[in-house]
């Protein structure tokens, strides 16, 4: 009576693990090449044990779970998928060679064992692939989220005044997010004026214009007025050609003009520090050296002392 597959493996454990560790170290890939052989040996022994258990107890599911948890750890350690796949192929090749030698006289048993080994290798490759795929999907998703946050900034430039600089192409998804962020910004800052800067938007078509109008209308419902700035000559031409109605929307040429308009609406203005202030600064400077009077000095160009 010949040995069973499991018995054959158990008997040759030492040899298989040794060979696998050496092969993996040499040929599996750059990350495995950096691992010392003494560390690889116990790791390969763990792989072997999991495989042996799957074969002796007929539990390929346990093998799959083992592969999944192990590969997940390897992903974090920056092993490439090719390296994991190479390891699986190497293990399969070694075991197949043993099977070839051991069951040379019993083709039926040989084929059954080969099929079993191929099945395990196939499951392992499949699982490894899935783990990697999921890992990269999660990574991409995370990056998209970060990008989304970066692409819809809402900035408060003054009490009651928000600026939303839009840069890059606007699609439906992004337009929706801009609208949401803008409206949340309005309620959060209790802003009455919103300056939407589209200097960085390369193409404005009917869809983009429609999204902008929707956003402006929604902002108005909250009680905030929108100012559209940064319409380039090209964009203005497209808007007129497409007969997009922007009446009822305040537009200004650039961000500066928009901010000036907004400040005027709030009854404010930006003005140079005048005579009054420097006189005041002089007075203050003689009494105390606080930061405000020092600034005054710098502006009016007086010596620092």
């Amino acid at each position: 009576m010949s040995l069973t597959f499991a018995e054959l493996l158990a008997r040759n454990k030492e040899g298989i693990v040794q060979e696998l560790a050496r092969l993996v170290k040499e040929k599996a890939g750059p990350t495995y090449a950096t691992v010392p052989l003494e560390q690889l040996l116990p790791r390969m022994a763990v792989v072997f044990d999991a495989m042996h258990q799957a074969i002796s107890q007929q539990v390929p599911q346990a093998w799959e779970e083992f592969v999944e948890t192990t590969v997940r750890r390897r992903v974090g350690e920056r092993y490439a998928l090719e390296e994991i796949q190479a390891l699986i192929s190497m293990l399969r090749d070694i075991v197949l060679r043993y099977l070839q030698a051991a069951y040379a006289e019993e083709p039926g048993q040989q084929i059954a064992c080969i099929l079993q080994m191929e099945d395990l290798a196939h499951r392992a490759r499949q699982r490894a692939f899935e783990v990697y795929l999921r890992h990269y999907e999660e990574k991409t998703e995370r990056q998209q989220r970060v990008l989304a946050e970066l692409s819809t900034p809402v900035i408060q430039v003054h009490e009651n005044i928000l600026v939303v600089p839009l840069v890059g192409a606007i699609d439906t998804e992004r337009a929706r997010r801009v609208m949401e962020e803008l409206l949340l910004g309005i309620t959060a800052y209790q802003a009455e004026l919103v300056i939407i800067d589209i200097t960085g938007v390369p193409v404005v078509d009917t869809a983009v214009a429609n999204h902008l109008m929707q956003t402006i209308k929604a902002a108005r419902l909250l009680g905030a007025q929108s100012i559209l700035v940064g319409i380039s000559g090209e964009v203005a031409q497209t808007l007129v050609h497409l007969q997009i109605d922007l009446s009822g929307v305040v537009t200004r040429s650039n961000l500066q003009a928009g901010i000036e308009y907004a400040l005027e609406r709030m009854g404010l203005e930006i003005s140079p520090k005048g005579e009054e202030l420097s006189a005041e600064a002089m007075e203050e400077a003689s009494e105390s050296g606080d930061s405000r009077s020092q600034r005054g000095q710098e502006v009016s160009g007086w010596p620092a002392n």
Binding site: M179, Q190, A218, L221, L222, G223, A224
Partner: protein
């Protein structure tokens, strides 16, 4: 089963009426609300009306249209309507429904709503005073 009829309290502050909606309005309650409002405007000769929707997080097309209608009707009766405290989600819904309330003045909150109404009323009084 008919839903329970809920009446929204309408308060008077100086020359203005304030109605704060705190619950999801059923159609029937909403119609009742509209009728109550118009009656109060007629009764008090209020110069302004504020509908505060801060606590409302869902609005359907019926309520949206009704608010627009109330504004128009109130204007006919000589009263200005300000809608205050709309939630972002509600604003998005309304614009998507195409109900962007063109005739309605909007304000971020009740306080700003009252300030806007005062400004409007003062403006009107000034122009009226300048006429003769």
């Amino acid at each position: 089963m008919a839903s329970e009829l809920i009446r929204i309290p309408i308060l008077q502050i100086e020359d203005f009426l304030v109605a704060s909606i705190q619950i999801a309005l059923h159609d029937r309650s909403a119609v009742q609300f509209r009728d109550d409002l118009l009656e109060r405007i007629y009764g008090t000769k209020a110069k302004g009306l504020i509908i505060d929707l801060t606590a409302v997080d869902i609005v359907d097309s019926f309520i949206g249209r009704l608010i627009g209608d109330v504004a128009e009707m109130a204007a006919l009766m000589g009263s200005r309507v300000v809608v205050s405290g709309l939630q972002p989600a509600v604003a998005i819904t309304l614009t998507e429904l195409g109900l962007d309330l063109p005739g309605v003045i909007t304000a971020l909150n009740l306080e700003k709503g009252i300030a806007i109404l005062r400004g409007l009323v003062r403006q009107e009084e000034d122009t009226e005073g300048a006429r003769p």
